[in-house]
Amino acid sequence: MQQVKNSTQPRKLYRFHGGIHLPDNKKQSIGLAVEKARLPQQLIIPLSQHMGEPAEVLVKVGDHVLKGEIIGKPQGYISAPVHAPTSGVVTAVEARPVPHPSGLPAQCIIIDSDGEDRWCELPEKISDYSAQEPALLRERIRNAGIVGLGGAAFPTSVKTNPGPDTPIHTLVINGAECEPYITCDDMLMRQQAEQVLTGAAILRHIIGADSCLIAIEDNKPEAIAAMGAAVTAAGMVWAEVVSIPTRYPSGGEKQLIKILTGEEIPSGGIPSQIGFVCHNVGTAAAVADAVLEGKPLISRYVTLTGSGISNPCNLEVLIGTPANELIEQAGGYTATVEKLILGGPMMGFTLESDAVPITKAANCLLATDSTESPSSGVALACIRCGRCAEACPVSLLPQQMYWYSRAKDLEKTQQYNLFDCIECGCCSHVCPSHIPLVQYFRFAKTESWAKERETKASDRARARSEARTARQERIKAERKALQAKKKAALAKKKAAEKEGGSDPKKAAIEAAKARAAKKKTQMAQEGVEPGNTENLTDTQQKAIDEVDSRRGEVAAEMRKDEEATDSSEQKGL
């Protein structure tokens, strides 16, 4: 069990390998208290703002929706609903540009605000969460559309459900915010410490953790003080605010747990495997809102900063607000602006247009000029200096992975543990040859996935073709067996004929002959002219009868074949 330590004793902290010191650049955006952003005229709500399946549209053009109303329901377990951020009319459901590294448009619900900002009827408030079943609270979190607000946007309800066989001893609340420039979590902790703490308490109750560590980098003394005061005021003895050294990427889940406890999440694993669950401070605050007030996740804190923005600040923004409106509110761009980045300078990606909406995962709009974020120019050859390996927080050898990625030797990249790469960008940052290493690793990962898919597809195709060959051979064999059987039967029949025994076929022929003869006499009596199948000689009649009986046998055989084929195809062969 994880012991909760007295806060007067400083906690023993651990170091992860590598990492880098970066200029903070946090001061610019932290001057003012967080204000609510202006209500935009039009909101663009992407259906996919989370990991997993996109939400399914529940509204149609022309519908009037109220603030907080669910407009997209989750599809599948790993998914989240989306809600109307304000009241208004749905004017379109169509593909729009969204903030995504691919730059591709995605399906969005467009709402024209009616300016009233009228709430829909919210679910009942829960004041005593500790009396509630965890499952019910989880359901509430799911219905509120809460996803990890630290940037990964993994559905929170899924993360709070580690399963009965996975005991959780520690909840980690991540207030590390290690990327330069970004201050929205810092501001949240300063301004809504109680809310964050309540969220932590609810999450702890749901996952059944003993203790809770609230980790904050030591470059945020105000946030540490505010959270510490909130913990003391609430008398929450199980919670501890831990000040950790400022070192990128200490805000990574794996790095954070290593710093706090010295434990390493196994490669390819998740924190719950070793008894941890980790949530961002923003997520915790959203959970508190959802449980206590019944409010869905329709807004978040966003940092607007960089020397490309006139008045850097933090704003509380409705999800779906176009980025350009926020930038306008922050005084617009400066004359020197060159890049617009969503997220921090290390892991963020550039936006080609500012006409994209803020999503649940969007924590920062960073507009930079050429001096603070110069374009790296032409990459030189790797000089094997090894600084990338020194900086890698996962102890990888980026230089070797780069070499094999370039050579498209995917197997080798995986031997060098490509999939342990967290894409933090430390290696690219320190590379004296300015090689975009992380880009190569993303490429190699995508290629590996594609190759795996291809392998799977070709495996399936091979299995199909093998099954087909097997089927054909079986049919052939069956046919042969049938022929053999028929031959045997024929031989038997001949033998029986020789012995003069009664043969059913012969009997049938006799009977048919008798019938024909009878008909013939009947027709003669009635004075009807015989057709071409009547008035046959005995030999003719016999031939026809034989053909008929053979036909019957072949038909039966064919039916059998068809059945066999059908059943094998149904088995998916």
Partner: protein
């Protein structure tokens, strides 16, 4: 508003190849200046010849390969190779040998393998070894240090010797040059002269050859500066010097008259230059930390073995080249344990 797209990270990069090379060149300067002080103008002239040769060869080959010559020259790596080679060459070496050595280093050892970053061998040392095994006489004719030099040459005289082979009147090669301290130590030890007798010679200073030891001090200082600037890490120099010192001390302890004391090995020949400037060449050295320690120890021990029982008085170049060859192997078996992996497979997976 529309913006161009870039790949992450979007930060000001803290260093560049050019910057690294320039720091190494800067750190080399105190030692080079000391060499100039003790051994005269020859060092400067060699540096000039080698630099001109290296830069023009680099530009020429890049052009022939259809690449941009300016970026290759601009990264300063060719210049650094030239300077490293030049400080290792005897001061009065005929100019065409310097040209051959440098051209071989740049064209064959570096560019034919693909240029910067692709050469498995240290170009400067390969050039040095080519000259040493092809022209042993010229390569082992050293000037005596300034305090022992009865015939110091002027700049013009030095240039005359280097470019035309014409010696100043009344002087012969024998009067002008002498063996290096390491060389003379070897010869005398082979003649069964004891170490204490050898050390009486005016050629010897406190730790190593007079002059040499002080040039060594300045190389040491430059090297420490590089470690401080984090251009190189301590692993290779420390393990290389440490292993050389330890083994030398061990043998010296066993027989004080036959095996020179530890510090002599450190402050003689190319040891300090090699430890901080040659073996640490990132392109041809091990990249993993553990590998760098093995690499350094290997070089240190090899230097001792060749110096003591081998055919050459100094062995830095041979030792470095030998271990350049071992780099891929060492790197392969010294991969660090990756975060979240068990220690069992030593960081490697899928083998």
């Amino acid at each position: 508003m529309q913006f161009p797209s870039f790949t992450s990270p979007h930060t000001d990069r803290p260093n560049s190849v050019r910057e690294n090379m320039l720091w190494v060149i800067a750190a080399l300067m105190p030692g080079a200046a000391a060499m100039f002080w003790y051994f005269g103008w020859g060092i400067i002239i060699n540096m000039a010849i080698a630099s001109a040769t290296a830069v023009s060869c680099e530009a020429l080959v890049m052009k022939m390969r259809g690449r941009q010559a300016s970026s290759a020259v601009g990264d300063m790596s060719a210049l650094l190779t030239a300077l490293l080679l030049a400080v290792a060459l005897p001061p009065l070496l005929p100019w065409w040998l310097t040209v051959i050595g440098t051209a071989f280093a740049i064209v064959v050892v570096k560019q034919l393998y693909g240029g910067l970053g692709y050469n498995p061998f240290n170009p400067a040392m390969a050039g040095y070894v080519l000259l040493l095994i092809s022209y042993p006489v010229q390569m082992t004719s050293w000037l005596p240090p300034v305090m022992l030099n009865e015939n110091p040459l002027t700049l013009v005289q030095t240039a005359m010797v280097i470019f035309s082979g014409v010696l100043p009147t009344d002087l012969t090669w024998d009067a002008l040059t002498m063996a290096s301290p390491l060389d003379s130590m070897r010869t005398q030890l082979d003649l069964n002269v004891t170490l204490s007798e050898i050390k009486l010679s005016p050629l010897w200073g406190d730790f190593g050859g007079r002059g040499w030891e002080w040039a060594g001090n300045w190389f040491l200082l430059g090297g420490l500066f590089l470690i401080y600037k984090r251009v190189i890490s301590w692993h290779i120099p420390v393990s290389m010097l440490g292993s050389l010192l330890l083994i030398a001390m061990l043998f010296h302890f066993i027989d004080q008259d036959a095996y020179p004391f530890g510090l002599f090995h450190i402050f003689s020949g190319g040891t300090l230059l090699g430890a901080f400037f040659i073996a640490t060449d990132p392109i041809t050295a091990c990249t993993t930390r553990k590998g760098q320690l093995i690499f350094g120890v290997g070089i240190g021990l090899t230097i001792y073995v060749i110096r003591t029982w081998g055919g050459y008085p100094d062995a830095v170049a041979f030792a470095v080249l030998l271990f350049n060859m071992a780099v891929p192997l060492i790197d392969h078996y010294t991969q660090p344990r990756v975060f979240g992996h068990s220690a069992e497979n030593g960081g490697r997976s899928g083998e």
